[in-house]
């Protein structure tokens, strides 16, 4: 059974059809990439899964459960974590605090317990901290642990956002353009990390990415999207060779 299944989903913004009768399924343990020109609807697909947008029609299920029954804040509880195309971090908090917010879905203590900092709160905090430190080690974020996000370079923020998503201990990770704006070296690091996230942590990855080098080196399957509809699907090589994809990218007559 597929981990994530989108069936015939459609979403319009006024006259714009952002997602057009789209179906896709992501298998457990795979790295699945969505590519497509600007405005193709890639981020909108993510926002549908995150439940920020309600599809006009169609269904989305995750791990056998109907995702459309859940509200946006309940999606994390199911084990879906994500990053954003335009980095959405908590700017006036430290890296550590940002990663700890990633642990929020594991919160067990009540407001009153926290007000008095009951022993259970301390125990939980230590456990969260340990989980977060593993992520810090994994992503080499040690030098930035106590730094405010507001003063960090773009590349580091990108990694922190990945870390925050990982801190929630997801089974599905959504990465919206993880390498956009990164240098060649940083992109290389990102590549290894995505690989390790799947191999070491056993997390399924669904990503949107423009960098075809990155896409073809890490992903098992690729979906090409144009105007919200599926253009082609298959291995990276198959999709890159697909005449419809070449036409969408380079315009008619290029084939």
């Amino acid at each position: 059974m597929s981990l994530l299944k989108i069936k015939d989903a459609t979403l319009k913004f006024g006259g714009v059809v952002a997602v057009d009768d789209l179906s896709l399924s992501v298998e457990e343990g795979e790295i699945y990439a969505i590519v497509g020109p600007n405005g193709a609807g890639k981020s909108t697909v993510f926002n549908l899964i995150s439940r920020f947008y309600q599809p006009f029609s169609g269904s989305i299920s995750f791990d056998g459960q109907n995702l459309l029954d859940r509200s946006a804040d309940q999606v994390a509880d199911l084990g879906i974590a994500r990053t954003f195309q335009n980095i959405e971090l908590f700017d006036h908090a430290t890296v550590l605090q940002n990663l700890l917010v990633g642990r929020h879905r594991h919160r067990k203590t009540s407001m009153v317990e926290e007000l008095f900092f009951a022993p259970r709160v301390r125990r939980e905090e230590l456990a969260h901290r340990e989980a977060v430190e593993e992520i810090i080690d994994f992503l080499d974020l040690q030098p930035y642990r106590d730094k405010m996000i507001a003063g960090l370079p773009y590349g580091v923020r990108k990694v922190v956002e990945l870390g925050r998503a990982l801190a929630s201990g997801p089974s599905l990770l959504l990465l919206d353009e993880p390498a956009s704006g990164l240098s060649v070296e940083e992109t290389q690091d990102m590549r290894w990390w995505i690989d390790d996230i799947r191999k070491q942590m056993g997390i399924t990855v669904l990503m949107v990415e423009h960098d075809m080098g990155l896409v073809s080196s890490v992903s098992d399957r690729v979906l090409a999207l144009a105007d919200g509809a599926k253009l082609a699907e298959g291995t990276p090589a198959q999709v890159q060779a697909d005449p419809a994809v070449i036409e969408a990218y380079l315009g008619a007559g290029a084939v």
Binding site: D73, D77, F84, H104, M111, E133
Partner: protein
């Protein structure tokens, strides 16, 4: 420069991260407890006033500095705390029950009022909460049988297990009571900061979209922020009632709400220190001004609106030149000394302040 060696994650969770801070705050606390021995009754009264403002500041700081929700309605919650406490005591409850309850009730009212305000952001929330401040006045008049309306109320003498406490005749005892409440509220604030809820507040403040994606329920979190903030504000209100000795519908006016908000901005948004620094400014500014005025113009001259004007000026100067408030300035000075002579000019790049949360469309 202080170098900290941490050996356990507990080091970061403790109330005081290292020996040095523990030392500083212990000294401060000992001094606070010894203060009645050191200064006269008049100044003790002034310090009590600072502490009460600081409690109110902590209340609003939690909501505005921590959770990013602006409120210009907090005078109304001061009033609710003050009246609830007095009415409960008149109804026969002892202070030891009535006082905590007054805060809890204020918190619950705050949480309920938060519900319609949840969809509002930034300036719109500020405008909506102004209405609260204005309404409070009318409601107090309308509820005349309970509140005493325009003629107001005089709180009874406090008795805790037979121990009598009164602001004028026993300023030392009243000071200790206020000090204990201050310490308790500061502890609550600190505990929140190192727990998931406090981080959720910051998450809501900085990015509602990604807070949601991390599993934070925005509405519920904001409601809790309003509730906890109003609880602390309610306690401050009850203490203000005792400090003033009498209050009516005009005591907790919109001006008080505005002063509170200015106070935490000047003090430094988002920090406990900021509430205290701001309280010192608010409590002592009128005195300093009247002394200055006396020196420059001689005693008898009255200048209407002088205090408000100067206060506004200070606020504008802070927003322009030191958005992080007095606490931010203090941090910079401290770092400069710690790093001496290696401090660089661009070490503290200008950072935006918190008052905006309108990110999620």
């Amino acid at each position: 420069m202080r170098i900290q060696f941490k050996t356990s994650y507990n080091d970061d969770i403790r109330l005081f991260p290292d020996r040095w801070t523990l030392g500083v705050y212990t000294t401060l606390l000992v001094m606070a407890f010894a203060l009645p021995l050191l200064i006269g009754e008049f100044y003790l009264g002034e310090v009590t006033n600072v502490l009460i403002w600081a409690i109110a500041g902590l209340g609003l700081m939690l909501l505005t500095g921590q959770a990013g929700q602006v409120s210009l309605g907090h005078a109304a919650f001061l009033a609710i705390g003050c009246y609830t406490n007095t009415i409960l005591i008149e109804a026969g409850l002892s202070f030891i029950l009535a006082f905590p309850l007054a805060g809890v009730i204020t918190g619950m009212v705050g949480a309920i009022i938060a519900i319609p305000a949840l969809r509002l952001h930034g300036i719109y929330l500020a405008i909506a909460t102004i209405a609260l401040s204005i309404l409070a006045d009318d409601i107090i008049v309308l509820l005349d049988p309970w509140t005493g309306g325009v003629s107001g109320k005089f709180p009874d003498m406090i008795t805790i297990f037979g121990l009598e406490i009164e602001r004028w005749s026993m300023p030392t005892r009243f000071y200790y009571l206020v000090l204990l409440v201050t310490i308790l509220c500061t502890l609550f604030y600190r505990n929140l900061l190192r727990s998931p809820l406090g981080r959720a507040f910051a998450a809501v403040r900085d990015s509602e979209v990604s807070a949601t994606a991390m599993g934070v329920h925005i509405a519920r979190t904001k409601t809790k922020a309003f509730g906890l903030s109003c609880m602390i504000t309610g306690w401050a209100g009850a203490l203000m009632g005792y400090y003033a000795g009498a209050f009516n519908n005009e005591t907790f006016s919109l001006v008080i709400s505005i002063t509170l908000l200015m106070m935490i901005v000047i003090g430094g948004l988002g920090s406990i220190h900021g509430a205290f620094f701001g309280a010192v400014v608010v409590a002592f500014l009128p005195q300093v001004l009247s002394i200055l005025k006396g020196a420059v113009l001689g005693g008898g001259v009255a200048i209407p609106g002088l205090e408000t004007g100067v206060f506004g000026m200070i606020l504008i100067l802070f927003i322009l030149f030191e958005p992080m408030g007095i606490y931010g300035r203090w941090l910079k000075i401290r770092t400069w000394f710690e790093l001496f002579p290696f401090a660089r000019k661009d070490m503290f790049r200008r950072q935006k302040s918190y008052l905006k949360t309108e990110r999620l469309r």
